[in-house]
């Protein structure tokens, strides 16, 4: 007899159920849509928040790190430098934070109905991708302004073609790390307290507010060991023309992302079956 489905205590390690997830693809698009409508339903400014958030962050960085601390920006206009960093970093940090809370935030739905749980993290990175694109246009606007007002240090180049690749790496990191954390928070709630702090710490360990070239040689290697660093540096190099870029470090990033993603999926798969008992 051919069973459609067999429920057993343990699943195979990498039973990804792609076919099943594919069947639920409409659900993914609906979550993404709902994320947008629901988020801005009760706000006055509505979708303007998409622009305001990175702008405020950039202004804050410009004042604190640029004007007060006088950190180097590799000779680039400060606003543009920070905006570039914030735009690409936010994609990672927002996707990561939300994925990391996916079990906690959706406990009530997960407890009542089954659908491939992986849909949830996937819809998070997708909806943040849309958010990124909106913020990206804001960044492009600023870029054009500086470029056409004749700033010689702004040099966009052909590397902008790797942008999709950079986004894939960022999405992979957010998914992988997010799924690991979310799986562990179902049991050890302490982690969710550390999360906000951890993300902030990670931002300082990533060249978002400083260029990697401004670091003393002996520290550079430590920062470059952070696999997110090359992504941010490459992004800035592609659009602004300065930054530490090498294919080697980019592929290192990619490799690290693949490993993290697999570990994430593995743990997520293990936890999703029973998390309702512990959450």
């Amino acid at each position: 007899m051919a069973w459609t489905e067999v429920i057993e205590p343990k699943s195979k390690l990498f039973d990804l159920k792609f076919k099943e997830a594919w069947h639920y693809r409409d659900l993914l698009t609906m979550w993404v849509k709902r994320d947008f409508t629901a988020t801005y339903k009760q706000t006055i400014l509505g979708p303007i928040w998409f622009f305001l958030q990175p702008l405020l962050m950039t202004i804050m960085f410009t004042i604190v790190f640029g004007k007060f601390a006088k950190l180097s920006t590799d000779g680039l206009p400060q606003v543009l430098f920070y905006l570039a960093g914030v735009t690409i970093w936010n994609y990672f940090s927002e996707s990561f934070t939300k994925t990391a809370n996916v079990f906690k935030d959706n406990a009530s739905i997960f407890g009542k109905v089954y659908f491939p749980r992986i849909i949830m993290p996937l819809s998070i990175v997708t909806s943040n991708l849309v958010r990124f694109l909106i913020q990206f246009f804001l960044f492009i606007g600023f870029l054009c302004y500086y470029k056409f007002s004749g700033n010689p240090s702004v040099q966009p180049n052909l590397m902008i073609l790797v942008t999709p690749f950079l986004l894939v790496i960022m999405a992979g990191f957010a998914l992988g790390a997010g799924m690991i954390i979310s799986s562990m928070t179902t049991k050890y709630r302490d982690l969710s307290f550390l999360l906000t702090f951890g993300v902030q710490l990670l931002m300082y360990a990533t060249p978002v507010i400083y260029p990697i070239n401004s670091l003393p040689e002996k520290y550079k290697i430590y920062v470059m060991a952070n696999p997110i660093a090359p992504v941010v540096e490459t992004f800035r190099y592609a659009y602004l023309g300065t930054g530490a870029f090498s294919w080697g470090s980019l592929f290192y990033s990619f490799g690290a992302m693949i490993v993290l993603l697999f570990v994430g999926i593995f743990i997520f798969n293990k936890v999703e079956k029973n998390f309702m008992d512990t959450v």
Binding site: M1, T4, V6, S11, H23, M30, V113, N274, T278
Partner: protein, 421 residues
């Protein structure tokens, strides 16, 4: 020859009791270490039968233990049992919300489960948006929902409000819409948990009708969990009774309901003979006798009234002792929960007491009833309680030419006044 839709073999589920979180890392490591050595989970062994009335010594209980059954295609299986018998756990495992500890379930066909109606409904979104969202959560493709859309709206009867956010809906409309989405799913196997407890009588009828439709006309398999014995009898073709997480009975829906109801029944009177220390109770209270008899006449019927009486020995001195009676009918509805002070001036003695209560004639409807009893201090602290102390039946009496049992929890005598205008 009929085919098997669901086959459950040796299904068990272990749950951790109490606080989760403290000491879990060390415990997890211990379990993990046992596993890599190929030994059994050290904490699984001490799991015990799920009997909530006695507090176990272990932190783990078997919410389900060694359940085996098969459901044929097109069958409607009613799953019955008391609260905590493991019904919901079984449904949760079947709908893949949690996984079993041991055992195996083989399923042939697409499953949709309705453990709650309206999962994923967002109050800010319109009825239309929510239909699509909810349908997608339940595993429907967009075009499937599109095709069923009119039927769903029609069944729910909310056509006029379909583009209004559901937060503006009345709770009845909300539930109707939610059930409608699920009712028009097209799974081969449908799992339903007590959703019929919501909505008005007319809608409940509609729901049962729809579920019958699904099983009889479309030949789909339905698993139905309910406390409503009438619904089980009218809707199901087979019944499974669970008790404390273990298998208790399997048979036709009538046999299963009978089995369940008779196992619920205790004796019509309770009388303790022998030593006081052996009577049911604890260091505070020992219960000696509990009876129910007619107030009028010599058999219990709806017009006889009920005289109920408890005799007990009290050990606690100088407290405000009280006793509360709880009457429960066959459908698990608490008819009343009512009590009195035995002593109210902090003057209780170490002695035997009798408390008598009288229910007037022509108040309760016919049927089987059970008494629970709770002894307490100051109506706040429980001293001792016992469920299902006695059971009794109130027989029916014909009303005019109608000799059937009339619906309703109560059947009072009402003096009507007729005004002819």
């Amino acid at each position: 020859m009929s085919e098997v839709a669901i086959k459950v073999e040796q299904l068990s589920k272990l749950y951790a009791l109490g606080q989760i979180g403290t000491g879990t890392i060390s415990r997890d490591l211990e379990r993990w270490y046992a596993r890599i050595r190929g030994k059994e989970d050290p904490y699984a062994k001490i799991g015990q039968i799920n009997d909530r009335t006695s507090k176990g010594s272990s932190d783990f209980v078997w919410s389900l233990r060694d359940i085996n059954f098969e459901v044929q295609k097109g069958e409607v299986l009613g799953i019955i049992g008391k609260n905590g018998a493991g019904k919901s756990t079984l449904l949760k495992i079947l709908s893949k919300i949690t996984s079993p500890t041991t055992g195996k379930i083989s399923i042939d066909g697409r499953i949709a489960s309705l453990l709650e109606v309206g999962t994923g409904f967002h109050p800010e979104m319109t009825g239309r948006e929510n239909i699509f969202m909810n349908g997608a959560i339940l595993g429907m493709r967009k075009f499937e929902i599109q095709r069923k859309f009119d039927e769903i709206v029609d069944f729910a009867g909310v056509a006029a409000y379909i583009d209004t956010p559901v937060k503006r809906y009345s709770s009845g409309m909300y539930v109707r819409l939610a059930f409608a989405v699920a009712a028009f799913l097209e799974p081969e196997i449908l799992i339903v948990d007590e959703v019929l407890a919501v909505g008005d009588a007319e809608f409940q009828k509609k729901c049962i009708g729809r579920m019958k439709d699904v099983s009889v006309n479309d030949g789909r398999t339905v698993l139905f969990v309910s406390h409503n014995m009438a619904a089980v009898k009218s809707l199901c073709t087979k019944g499974l009774v669970l008790k404390n997480g273990t298998f208790d009975f399997y048979g036709t829906q009538y046999q299963a309901v009978d089995h369940y109801q008779s196992s619920q029944l205790a004796n019509a009177s309770f009388m303790h003979e022998g030593e006081l220390e052996l009577a049911p109770g604890n260091q505070n209270i020992r219960m000696l006798r509990f009876i129910a008899k007619p107030l009028i006449g010599d058999s219990l019927s709806i017009s006889s009234g009920v005289h109920f009486e408890v005799e007990f020995y009290n050990y606690k001195e100088n407290i405000n002792l009280d006793v509360t009676f709880e009457l429960v009918n066959m459908d698990e509805v608490v008819v009343f929960h009512h009590g009195a002070f035995v002593c109210s001036n902090k003057d209780s003695k170490k002695a035997a007491y009798i408390v008598i209560g009288k229910l007037p004639p022509n108040l309760l409807n016919a049927g089987n009833y059970r008494f629970n009893i709770i002894f307490g201090e100051n109506q706040r602290f429980g001293l001792y309680s016992k469920n299902d102390v006695i059971q009794f039946e109130l027989t029916n009496e014909s009303f005019g030419t109608n000799s059937k049992v009339l619906p309703g929890v109560v059947r009072p005598e009402i003096a009507y006044e007729i005004i002819n205008l």
